[in-house]
């Protein structure tokens, strides 16, 4: 409890740090919303035209003033207006977030559903052919760039079988769950592949460690069948590293999976941030980076709390 409050108290500080860094970072990159909108035609603008456009985009003030305005806005939940979307930044982000969350959850689900059993299986067959098979498969999965997986999947499905889930025209889950899942399954598999591979490796090595622990011997001495020894006694003890890994990966995924979103035309956070950067939509970049950072911190906190739930020996106070 105490721990939770102290961790939460650190959030604003970190977020302020993030906001300052992103604010300066995005402005240090050459080009601005005007060049993003007009391209080379921006050169035709008269200084007067340019300054009125700058005022329109809210980038006419000195940086500290801009920052202060934006920062004070935060307290009333106002993250500014996105110039690309012509909408409040928060609204844009919240529109995109469900998809990103869904994609992250789905890929994690796939990863855990495949990775944990595979890792456990390999661990119980330590150094035997089945183990080697699983390990090599996992390494290949981990080492294939996701855009290669994505492109090849699309190509095989469309040119080979003439089927493809609907590209574009994304349907949210609550509008049509079936259609939505149809659209999400390929991207989730693409992301899940590499993710599952890492989960497999981590759960394998964690299981190997755990299987040589004393309490596993105790369980066997009690006459527990092998199935119960592995799934009930050993696995829960091997989950901490799996949770750590999943937490980190999940945290990354909540920031959006740019390449997969791009290939499968999903309107997720990752593409949104990339496009906001390319279009120099400062307010949107700032808002979304802040949002992503917050997510990341929340996920980290949840992972820490999950440790406690998983392993009563872990105490949070000292961490």
């Amino acid at each position: 409890m105490n721990y939770l409050i102290r961790r939460l108290a650190a959030f604003p500080l970190v977020l302020i740090g993030v906001s300052i860094v992103v604010f300066i970072a995005i402005r240090l990159v050459p080009g601005d919303a005007i060049t993003a909108m007009l391209g080379t035609e921006a050169g035709l603008l008269t200084p007067q035209q340019r300054s009125s456009l700058a005022a329109y985009f809210g980038i006419d003030q000195p940086w500290p003033v801009q920052y202060w305005r934006w920062f004070t806005g935060l307290f009333s939940g106002d993250l500014g207006i996105s110039v690309t979307y012509g909408k409040p930044v928060l609204a844009v982000i919240l529109e995109r977030f469900p998809l990103t969350l869904e994609l992250a959850l789905l890929s994690m689900l796939i990863a855990l559903a495949i990775g944990v059993p595979a890792g456990v299986f390999a661990a119980t067959r330590n150094e035997r052919p089945a183990d080697l098979g699983v390990r090599v498969a996992a390494m290949i999965g981990q080492s294939t760039p996701s855009f290669v997986v994505g492109l090849v999947l699309i190509y095989i499905l469309s040119a080979g079988f003439g089927v493809l889930p609907t590209m574009g025209a994304f349907t949210p889950l609550w509008q049509d769950p079936l259609q939505n899942l149809g659209q999400m399954i390929l991207p989730a598999v693409t992301l899940g592949c590499a993710f599952a591979a890492s989960v497999t490796r981590v759960s394998r090595s964690a299981m190997l460690d755990v299987l040589s622990d004393d309490y596993v011997r105790t369980a066997r001495a009690k006459g527990a069948p092998e199935r119960s020894v592995i799934w009930r006694h050993a696995l829960p003890n091997a989950l901490v590293p799996v949770v750590t890994l999943s937490g980190i990966e999940f945290g990354y995924l909540l920031g959006g999976a740019v390449i997969v979103e791009q290939i499968y035309a999903l309107p997720g956070l990752g593409r949104m941030v990339l496009e906001a950067i390319l279009q120099r939509d400062y307010a949107l970049v700032q808002g979304s980076v802040l949002f992503i950072a917050l997510n990341f911190m929340i996920v980290n906190l949840l992972v820490d709390l999950a440790y406690v739930a998983l392993d009563p020996r872990i105490r949070l106070e000292g961490r």
Binding site: N2, Y215, V216, R217, R220, A221, K222, G223, P225
Partner: protein
């Protein structure tokens, strides 16, 4: 009547066929119904492997029974050959017919499952109980091993219980289905003497109640004397001798058995205490030597406890509360007491590893010769494995104090290294080797050599021989005594093993809950304890002399050291017994 277990010509190997290493070479024994067979022998002699072969748990450790038969008399009167039994059959036997208790209760219970779930499992597996019934059975099982407040403990996880408590849980689990054979593999080695006494009492009582048979494994013959009917002595994978308890203790045949009985320290109630008491000589003949090398006065160490939003302190753990003693050159003061009584904290404060909350100690540098280090106090830790950095060579390890003192490693330093190595009995080529290339006893010698590199005047030894095998222990103790004489070292020797203390201490201080309750000349304190706690402590020490002694069951809890903020203990009043022996008066 048929024996419950009959093992003939058992051979066990580790590793796959070609490079298999045989560790048990043809052991045969029988365990009769209701009988306790003790297996004794030094570390690595194959005790555990033999015992774990009887229910084939050894399979999971990579071991294989290469030949021999293991016949188990089942409850229904049939005889099963364990060596050729199927996995299903073995699962039925394990837990139901053969229960096991392991050495380390802390690691042998699943840390993420509640106590209740783990005990219940035994009932679920072999009795088919479910739900509330299983829970009730688990509670009863816990009550049976005298766990107070069993209902509440069911939902606790192992980290919330003390070691002694956990060992009881282990026993409850092993006995859940009334197995007819219990294997107890060093069930008390990890525990305090007083707790050990309780566990032994419990085992003895349960055995009386149920009439089960037991294989009791230990390297402590004193302990075995209290419970066994028959004893088997193992050395290097062979059963070198077996027979009735009395016969083995009184008429050992094999040299190794004799060695076990005579060469290793056994507690003898102060009879074996050292007599070269410096203090007596100092008082009487050379008053100038009476200047202590180390004087500690009113040492207090408290760990604040914090809670709430702003981490406000609400109390403190009074780990050490007003400890005072002094130490003359060439003298050994042993601090004894059970786990958590503040022994290590005292040592760490003296070494400057923890900041004392209050108190003074002075180290007399003049008492020693020139060439003195800045820190004339050195330490030897309990665990020789953990106190040597595995990635440094011995030369680097021995050189560290020298470098820390700002000197360079030159020819004289190297010469000192070789001389010290020779002195502690290590081979000359040790300098280029790494810690993992030494045995436990050798490593502890390395630690001692390291502590001596800078001519300290005081050496603190915290459980310095506890982790060592009994016969190794004896040799290291001898070395320590020799070194003390040779260099005039003062030892602050911390241990919970009375037999060891008896061998090395000139004086003994008994700590209880952060305070010294009794201090004085070793012989006097050990043979004639005055404080009730000291009495209890000494009474709990198993000895060969007190053969088949009946241990009293005692389920009292150790007092909490947590005190409210600003709490000060009442000042101590001391009562004197004899010339150098005083006892704290109870408030």
């Amino acid at each position: 009547m048929k024996p419950i277990l009959s093992v003939r010509d058992l051979h066990v190997s580790f590793g796959r066929a070609p490079d298999a290493k045989e560790v048990v070479h043809g052991v045969s024994f029988e365990v009769g119904v209701g009988e306790v067979l003790a297996i004794v022998g030094e570390s690595g002699s194959g005790k555990s492997v033999t015992a774990l072969s009887t229910n084939r748990l050894i399979d999971y450790a990579g071991g294989r029974i290469t030949s021999g038969t293991i016949e188990l008399l089942r409850a229904d009167g049939t005889v099963t050959d364990i060596g050729s039994a199927s996995t299903q059959e073995l699962t039925k036997i394990r837990g139901a017919e053969i229960g096991v208790i392991f050495q380390e209760p802390m690691t042998s219970l699943n840390p993420v499952l509640s106590i209740g779930a783990q005990v219940e499992e035994a009932f679920r597996l072999h009795r088919g109980l479910t739900g509330r019934q299983a829970k009730a059975a688990a509670r009863e099982a816990l009550e049976r091993v005298r766990i107070p407040d069993a209902e509440r403990r069911l939902s606790a996880t192992p980290d919330q219980l003390s070691g002694g408590m956990l060992q009881r849980v282990m026993i409850a689990m092993a006995l859940a289905c009334n197995p007819r054979l219990l294997i107890a593999d060093e069930p008390t080695t990890a525990l305090d003497v007083t707790v050990q006494a309780q566990i032994m009492a419990l085992l003895a009582e349960l055995r009386r109640e149920t009439g089960m048979s037991m294989i009791f494994i230990s390297h402590d013959i004193g302990l075995v004397a209290g419970i066994a009917d028959r004893v088997m002595v193992m050395q290097d994978g062979h059963a070198v001798e077996q027979g009735e308890l009395g016969q083995i203790l009184d008429h050992p045949q094999h040299p190794y058995t004799k060695h076990l009985l005579h060469a290793v320290p056994h507690f003898s109630g102060g009879d074996a205490a050292r007599t070269d008491t410096i203090r007596a000589q100092a008082d009487e003949m050379r008053p100038t030597v009476a200047k202590p090398t180390l004087a500690v006065d009113d040492l207090v160490v408290r760990y604040p406890l914090k809670s709430g939003w702003l981490s406000r302190p609400f109390g403190a753990v009074h780990a050490v509360d007003g400890v005072g003693f002094d130490l003359l050159p060439g003298e050994t003061l042993a601090i004894v007491g059970e786990s958590g009584s503040g022994k290590s904290t005292t040592a760490r404060a003296v070494l400057g590893l923890v900041a004392p909350t209050r108190g003074a100690f002075s180290v007399d540098a003049h008492a020693a010769r020139p060439g003195q280090s800045r820190l004339p106090v050195q330490m030897v830790f309990q665990n020789p494995y953990a106190s040597l950095n595995p990635r440094l060579s011995i030369e680097q390890i021995l050189g560290e104090p020298v470098i820390a003192a700002g000197q360079r490693i030159d020819a004289t330093v190297r010469a000192r290294m070789t001389a010290l190595l020779a002195r502690v009995g290590l081979p000359q080529d040790s300098l280029a080797r790494y810690p993992h290339q030494f045995s436990g006893g050798q490593r502890q010698r390395l630690c001692i050599a390291r502590a001596l590199m800078l001519n300290p005047s005081v050496v603190v030894l915290d459980e310095a021989v506890s982790a060592l095998d009994v016969s190794v222990q004896a040799r290291v103790l001898e070395l320590l005594v020799d070194l003390q004489r040779e260099y005039g070292l003062a030892y602050l020797f911390i241990s919970h093993d009375m037999a060891v203390v008896e061998r090395i201490a000139h004086r003994v201080a008994v700590m209880f809950a952060g305070q010294i309750v009794e201090i004085g000349e070793a012989k006097s304190v050990l043979s004639d304890p005055q404080h009730p706690y000291t009495k209890k402590l000494i009474g709990a020490v198993p000895t060969i002399a007190r053969r088949r002694q009946h241990f009293e069951l005692d389920t009292r809890q150790v007092p909490s050291l947590v005190r409210p903020l600003g709490f000060e203990p009442p000042p101590a009043t001391w009562r004197e017994y004899g010339r150098d022996h005083k006892v704290r008066a109870e408030a």
